[in-house]
Structures are given as structure tokens and as C-alpha cells.
């Protein structure tokens, strides 16, 4: 297990970079079914540090309208876990352009993963080169009881969330049980629903920063431009952008140039 984890691209990343990391989310199969790998390659070419690929689901309760709609569209396009794994099958090999070397996370909900079979899912993740998953509605206790050994066997990280309401005791527990990084949800909200970094958020960022957790932290939810990315990065190892990128893809298209322009405005 230990050896697998040390070979993980995400843990590797944090050993040599700890500041201003940019993780960008997009929904697999959106806006068109076959856009997944080109967008992934575009994000790598634009220099993002981690790519988070959304596994579309009919009931994404932690997501706001923008990501909900991208999920619906992707499902309408016919996206499924099976299709997603097929699309990602060769991306690390580079048979279709430059090999993808950027760390990849899959983000989604536990229901489709249970339908697919947890072991089957982890095996496929390992095969295609997925480094970790974010499953907001997979309870940590259940993960530890039932699934942690399977994830470990295939070297797949399970990234856990904390929020402003998470107790200090639970944050310590989550920190102890996490590898990779901790996903800090910036405020009591669903994705895409806040604008700017408020004083309350700032205070929360500082409070968590002062806890000196063993895991690096990335801040997500409401990170949508250079200013919010900058403020988040001052108190964590970087930030996660999702809804803003989905909106950009819808408005400005999915070309490599469009993606590069988006990433540049965030990083500035």
C-alpha cells in the first residue's frame, strides 16, 4: 500500500509544489460526449496542476445550477462510467497526441460507483491512470469500514471535504484518515453559489491554516476568478475552480486556446 501511494501523482505533486496549485473541474462528456479527453489535454497544456473530472449524475445535491446542468447535458449525451473509462483508456499512453501526465481526480457521487461496483471502479481507475476520487456523499466512516482496503490496494486516493461547520475534532479525524489533500469547502454552500471571499470565509481560512494539518489543503466552491484564487492561495496550498470553468466552456468554447485563456485569467 505505502509503495502504491508514494507512486501516486497527487502525493508526488505535493512533494515538489506546495503553493498556488490550481485544480480545475469539468464534467465528463460536456458539452459534447467526446470532449472529455480534448479538455483534459487542454487543461494540461494550460499548466493546471490537477484535473478533476466530474462523473455526471442525475442528483448532484452538492452542486449548484451550472454543474447540475452540465451533468444533465452529459447524461443526455450518453456519458456513463463505462464510457468515461473507455475515453480515458489511452490518455496516459499518448497514442492520441501528447501523453497526459497531469494528476487526475474523478469527482462525483457514490450511487453510480456502487452500481459499477467499488472494486471494479478502483481497478478501472488504476488501469486508466486516475489518481484519486472525490465522493462528497460517501460517508468517511463507511469508507473506512468498507472501502479503504480496496482503494489502497489499487492506489486510489479518497479526498475528503471539510466545511466551516466541521468541528475541530472531526477535522483532526479527517486529517488523520486522509491522504493526498483536504478539500476545503469555502462556505456553507453548494458549488457556484457564492461571489467573492467574505470576512467570514477569510476567518475560516485562517482558522484552518492555524491548525497545521498534516495534509495540504485546496479551497473550492466560489473560486471563480483571479481575486478569489489569490485569496484562497494565501491561506491554503491552492484552489479548485469548477462552475466558472463550465460557464467558460459554454460561452467561449472548448478549444485549447480558450482553455489556456481561462487558466491565464485565474492565475494572471
Amino acid at each position: 500500500m505505502t509503495q502504491e501511494v508514494t507512486q501516486n501523482r497527487i502525493t508526488d505533486l505535493f512533494t515538489h509544489k506546495s503553493e498556488r496549485l490550481l485544480n480545475v473541474y469539468f464534467t465528463a462528456g460536456f458539452p459534447n460526449l467526446t470532449d472529455t479527453v480534448p479538455i483534459l489535454s487542454g487543461l494540461q497544456a494550460a499548466g493546471v496542476d490537477i484535473v478533476e473530472i466530474g462523473m455526471p449524475y442525475s442528483d448532484p445535491v452538492a452542486d449548484g445550477e451550472t454543474i447540475q446542468q452540465s451533468n444533465d447535458k452529459a447524461l443526455d449525451n450518453g456519458m456513463s462510467l463505462k464510457t468515461l473509462f473507455a475515453q480515458l483508456a489511452d490518455c496516459r499512453k499518448g497514442t492520441d497526441g501528447d501523453p497526459v501526465t497531469v494528476p487526475i481526480l474523478l469527482m462525483g457521487y457514490i450511487n453510480p460507483v456502487l452500481q459499477f461496483g467499488v472494486e471494479n471502479f478502483c481497478q478501472k481507475c488504476q488501469e486508466v491512470g486516475v489518481d484519486g476520487v472525490i465522493l462528497p456523499d460517501l460517508p468517511l466512516d463507511l469508507f473506512l469500514d468498507e472501502y479503504a482496503p480496496i482503494f489502497n490496494e489499487y492506489g486510489i486516493l479518497n479526498v475528503n471535504l471539510i466545511t466551516p461547520q466541521t468541528s475541530e475534532e472531526r477535522i483532526r479525524f479527517i486529517d488523520k484518515e486522509s491522504d493526498g489533500f483536504i478539500y476545503m469547502v469555502s462556505s456553507a454552500s453548494i458549488t457556484g453559489s457564492v461571489k467573492g471571499v467574505s470576512d467570514t470565509m477569510q476567518a475560516y481560512f485562517e482558522r484552518i491554516e492555524a491548525m497545521n494539518l498534516r495534509n495540504p489543503r485546496l479551497i473550492g466552491f466560489g473560486i471563480n476568478n483571479h481575486d478569489t484564487f489569490d485569496k484562497a492561495s494565501q491561506h491554503a496550498n491552492g484552489a479548485i475552480v469548477g462552475s466558472a470553468f463550465i460557464r467558460h466552456l459554454t460561452e467561449k468554447g472548448t478549444s485549447a486556446e480558450s482553455i489556456r485563456a481561462f487558466v491565464q485569467t485565474i492565475r494572471a
Partner: protein
């Protein structure tokens, strides 16, 4: 649907919130503190004598319990058996839903919550929730699929008359499932002062167990009434409709008639 009175055990919830393979609390971490607060407190709150007194008094004086158990003679002749109807439709607001919403609003008050959010399908749970919110003076927000809002306009009007804000759920299939998602999202956005009164059997533990406890009043009454009428407290069959709503927990508690919950 028929369910026989064969011994069952899987309706008893485990300490981790599972019913056999099913159950659990598959909620985003954002809702963990809320659900955990509820999980740690609901049994103590329900067991508190002051809660019990208020709950039972409201069921008697406000809901109008006990509801009659009626021998449907002509239906009995037609189907060839003895059929009794448990008249939950005679509860205040016209459905059994209010047994649960009375219980949950009392829990919410004891948790210090100031606002109530709920989902509704046909509107009965929404009406029952709006009613208890009006009774207790709590703000009420009900999510309802926009298609359901058109189909069940009288219930929408009734909720609004009771002072509730009815919000159309326009995502997905625009029906109960999506109303539930929107109510969950609302709760994520308002985690501290809001209690979510779930009326359907879709929520995380401890909701299914809590709803079943509040609805077990139905089976308790059936036992007593049936005994008075027939000398036998257990029916051979229990027939109920199963839709998206809260009927299954009652069925489970009816089939577990040996247990007195609330």
C-alpha cells in the same frame, strides 16, 4: 400491495443506520453536522416526558386522533374477507403526514431551529409541514417539482395560505426527487438555523427511523381498535399503497406490532 405478518427483523435500524443492506446516511460532508446533531439527539428528545406529553396532546386535540377503524361491509363482501379501513384521511389536513410533521417540528424546536424546509410530491406533506409551521410560528419553505405544482395547484394554494413559501424545483424531472434535491441544497446553504422535515423515505439515517416512530401511532391504534372489535389485535393482511411517500415506514411498524415506539 400485501405484506404478511411473518416475523421480520430488517425494519429495525442498526446503530450505523442500516436496515440490512440498505439505509445509511449518504449525505455530503456539508450536512454531516446537521444530521449528526439530529442523530445524537432525536432519541433523547423523543423519550423526554415533556415531549411525549406535547406530542400526544397535539395528536389528540389538533390532529384529531384516534382516527376511526371502519368495517367496510360492502368491500368485505366483494373481496371475500373482513376489511377494515384505517381512516387516516380524517386527520387534520387530510392525511397521515401530519403525525410525522408534528413530531418533527417538536424535535426542531428542541434543537433550537428557527426555519423549516421540506420537499413535497403531491403536496400532502407540504401542507402538513406548512400547517405545523403555522401552528408553531416557524418560517416554512417547501420545494415542489414545477410539474407537480401544476398538477396539484390546490395544495400549492393551501400551503401559501398557511404562510409557506413554495419554491418550484425546476431541475431534472421537476418532480419529487428533484424537490428533495433542492431542499437538500437549501439545507446545505442554511445549515445552522434550519431543520429539514423530510416526509418521504429518502433521507439519511436517522430520518427513516424517526418518521417510522412518529407514524407508529397508526399501528398502535389499529391494534387496540381491532382488539376491541374482534378480540384479535393482529390483522391477517395489511394493504397500503406505496408511492414516493411515507407509507412504507408505517407498514414496517404495522408489521412489527409488538414494538411500541413513541
Amino acid at each position: 400491495m400485501q405484506t404478511t405478518l411473518e416475523p421480520q427483523t430488517s425494519f429495525e435500524v442498526s446503530d450505523k443506520g442500516f436496515y440490512g443492506h440498505f439505509g445509511g446516511a449518504f449525505i455530503p460532508e456539508m450536512l454531516y453536522p446537521n444530521v449528526e446533531e439530529l442523530r445524537q439527539n432525536y432519541l433523547n428528545i423523543i423519550a423526554d416526558p415533556a415531549f411525549q406529553a406535547e406530542f400526544w396532546q397535539l395528536l389528540d386535540d389538533y390532529v384529531g386522533r384516534p382516527t376511526p377503524l371502519f368495517l367496510a361491509k360492502r368491500l368485505s363482501e366483494k373481496v371475500g374477507g373482513t376489511v377494515y379501513l384505517k381512516r387516516e384521511d380524517l386527520c387534520h389536513t387530510g392525511a397521515h403526514k401530519i403525525n410525522n410533521t408534528i413530531g418533527q417540528i417538536l424535535v426542531a424546536q428542541r434543537l433550537g431551529k428557527k426555519r423549516i424546509v421540506a420537499e413535497t410530491g403531491a403536496g400532502q406533506h407540504g401542507v402538513a409541514t406548512a400547517t405545523v409551521c403555522a401552528l408553531m410560528g416557524l418560517e416554512c419553505i417547501v420545494y415542489m417539482g414545477s410539474i407537480d405544482m401544476e398538477r396539484q395547484k390546490p395544495n400549492v394554494d393551501r400551503m401559501r395560505m398557511l404562510g409557506a413559501t413554495v419554491v418550484p424545483a425546476t431541475s431534472g424531472s421537476q418532480t419529487l426527487k428533484d424537490a428533495t434535491n433542492e431542499a437538500m441544497r437549501h439545507w446545505i446553504n442554511n445549515p445552522v438555523d434550519t431543520h429539514y422535515i423530510i416526509g418521504s423515505v429518502v433521507g439519511p439515517h436517522p430520518y427513516p427511523d424517526m418518521v417510522a416512530r412518529f407514524q407508529s401511532v397508526i399501528s398502535e391504534e389499529v391494534k387496540k381498535q381491532l382488539f376491541a372489535k374482534t378480540g384479535n389485535e393482529n390483522p391477517d393482511y395489511v394493504v397500503a399503497c406505496v408511492g414516493g411517500a411515507a407509507m412504507p415506514p408505517e407498514l414496517f411498524t404495522i408489521t412489527s406490532m409488538n414494538h411500541r415506539y413513541v
